[in-house]
């Protein structure tokens, strides 16, 4: 059983595709359930999985809290649960392991990149946040601030939610540009995901500025389209969040079934930083068919 959050972004669609691919390659039947962004649906789905008696449950939790009861039920039914890409607050004996990246770390990588990039120059940063209240938005904001901590020359002057969407990314960026002297006062943009960054790039171009030069752009996820932008010199850096969470998850499950090896509680995927130096065109070609 695989309880997916929904399909709110291309990244998640890619994760779903890859999970299905992995299951197919390894010969498992995958019970897929889409929760339409709602925890209650996920809880209901897990309960149904338990009622159906599946062998293992993959869960991409929509929110960190509130899983104790249902994970307890799964545990009582002796079904191992693996968390994908997001964490939960529950005690860690309720699930087998969690595969994911560290959201705070991602933000920090982005922040550190910017700190290095601008050196000691003064830099006014605008931030496009994710959906208010979602854990990536909270953690990526925090990580970025950790990354630039101690650099008094870098200042976050405006931050507003872009809801992780391209359209709002563009809209909000337009108002940032208006508010900051037509964009002349902005030195860099930090977007919580690539989609918003791509929207913002269009806004910057339409305002007559050069994204990537006049305004440096760093974002997170590493979806194909951002590599295209990087190849065109319009974006500067992105931090990868791999959608292939299922691979390590199945590895862990297989080991567990074979000889009862209990995997570590957190299997961290790499948060690799890509810049224009990393052959963006090549990365684009590699990724574009992954179902993003």
């Amino acid at each position: 059983g695989f309880s997916q959050i929904g399909s709110e972004s291309g990244w998640r669609a890619a994760e779903t595709t890859l999970t299905k691919q992995q299951a197919e390659e390894r010969g498992y039947t995958l019970q897929f359930s889409d929760a339409q962004q709602r925890q209650e649906n996920q809880i209901a789905a897990i309960r149904s999985f338990v009622a159906q008696g599946v062998d293992a449950i993959l869960l991409a939790p929509v929110v960190a809290t509130g899983w104790d009861a249902v994970l307890q039920e799964a545990k009582e039914a002796e079904i191992p649960v693996v968390l994908l890409d997001r964490q939960v607050d529950s005690s860690d004996d309720l699930y087998l392991t969690a595969v994911g990246s560290d959201l705070v770390h991602e933000g920090k990588v982005a922040g550190e990149w910017l700190a290095k990039e601008v050196g000691d120059n003064k830099c006014r940063v605008v931030e496009l946040q994710g959906t208010t209240g979602s854990s990536p938005a909270i953690d990526r904001a925090k990580g970025f601030r950790d990354g630039i901590a101690g650099k008094a020359n870098i200042e976050i002057v405006r931050s507003q939610t872009g809801d992780f969407t391209r359209a709002l990314g563009k809209t909000v960026m337009e108002s940032f540009l208006q508010a900051e002297g037509g964009g002349k006062d902005i030195c860099a943009l930090y977007a919580h995901n690539d989609d918003m960054a791509i929207g913002a790039i269009q806004a910057i171009k339409e305002a007559g500025l050069k994204p990537g030069q006049d305004i440096k752009i760093v974002s997170i996820d590493a979806v194909p389209d951002i590599f295209q932008a990087m190849a065109a010199g319009e974006a500067n850096a992105t931090v990868e969040l791999t959608p292939n969470m299922a691979g390590p998850a199945f590895d862990a499950l297989e080991k567990f079934w074979k000889d009862g090896t209990v995997p570590p509680k957190f299997i961290q995927t790499e948060s690799k930083l890509y810049t224009q130096a990393d052959d963006p065109q090549g990365e684009y070609e590699r990724r574009k068919d992954l179902g993003y």
Binding site: F32, S33, D34, Q36, A51, A69, D89
Partner: protein
């Protein structure tokens, strides 16, 4: 036959639910376990409770779009208060129910005093409740209180390992209470009267203002109660929770045979509407092959089929009635 035609929509709803269940059972025999039935009640407890309030509102010819946000607010309120103060959960519950009831009453008052449509006033209420939830915390907050663990694990193990949980029972009690209020009190009669026509209701002696305030206060109360149940269900408070629940609740009420323009319907019907929605969800999970988008399409189509079946059934009975 001496079945009162008033009952036809209700019977149609129940009939359709049973047929739906039968079909699911034939396809997935595992559907007929006490486990699935227990889950159906537990998973939909919060929806059932809020739908009871929504039924009363819709019976009166109104609508309450704020309930989803109020549930989210409730969860956040409880979680934050339990985290930051040493109040006992029961005290927090009481405080919360007072707040949500007053919130509902205030919306009812605005609707009446400003002669504004309920749709818009409660839409503003929807923004407001979620906005306040954001302001309390943007993070999801876990609730860890021994009393809560007790509530979560309060269930009765039915034969066949199904669990009849406290919140499931609470929903059934709410439905019962709602049914009594709607069908067995003078207030209920006033609600139906409003649904039949405000002008006429006024001429018949209904205190329209007071009734409107009470209706939305009741809906607020049920939304608060639903928030409590939801926080027990998930053990946390999260400002982004239950987005769009108001629409699910409305759909459940309508499937339950209540007429959206008000004045006709049964609270018991709403229970079956909720269970039908739950059934659709369960069916899709059991099926387990639908992609994200097909899930959405299929939910919509099943909704349509239920409504069409209901309409067809009613038309048939009305036809039979005309011929006798």
């Amino acid at each position: 036959m001496s079945i009162n035609p008033r009952l036809y929509p209700l019977l149609a709803t129940i009939g359709i639910f049973l047929v739906g269940y039968l079909i699911s059972y034939l396809q997935f025999p595992a559907m007929l376990s006490t486990r699935v039935i227990g889950n159906l009640l537990t998973d939909n407890a919060y929806l059932g409770i809020v739908a009871v309030g929504m039924t009363i509102v819709i019976l009166s010819g109104g609508i309450d779009l704020s309930v989803g946000s109020v549930i989210a607010f409730s969860g956040v309120f409880i979680a934050v208060l339990l985290r930051d103060t040493s109040l006992h959960p029961l005290a927090v519950f009481a405080l919360l129910l007072i707040i949500t009831t007053v919130f509902g009453a205030a919306m009812g008052w605005l609707i009446h005093a400003l002669a504004m449509p309920a749709f818009i006033v409660t839409l503003a209420g929807m923004f407001l409740a979620r906005g306040v939830a954001y302001m309390m915390t943007i993070d999801s907050v876990a609730i860890s209180h021994p009393f809560y663990s007790m509530l979560t694990s309060a269930y009765w193990l039915m034969p066949g390992k199904g669990r009849l949980t406290l919140i499931g029972v609470l929903m059934l009690i709410s439905v019962l209470a709602g049914a009594i209020i709607a069908h067995r009190t003078r207030f209920g009669a006033a609600v139906f009267a409003l649904g039949g026509g405000e002008q006429t209701a006024r001429l018949m002696g209904v205190n329209v203002g007071r009734t409107t305030v009470l209706i939305y206060a009741f809906s607020g109360l049920m939304a608060g109660l639903s928030g409590i149940v939801f926080s027990i269900y998930t053990g946390s408070g999260y400002p982004l929770a239950t987005v769009g629940t108001e629409l699910t609740a409305i759909a459940a009420v309508v499937i339950g045979g209540t007429i959206l323009t008000g004045g006709a319907g049964y609270v018991i019907g709403t229970l079956f509407g909720v269970l039908t929605m739950g059934l659709i969800q369960t069916y899709i999970v059991f099926d387990g092959t639908l992609s994200s988008w097909w899930t959405k399409i299929v939910i919509g189509l099943l909704l349509l089929i239920f409504i069409l079946l209901q309409k067809g059934l009613l038309r048939l009975t009305a036809f039979g009635e005309a011929r006798t």
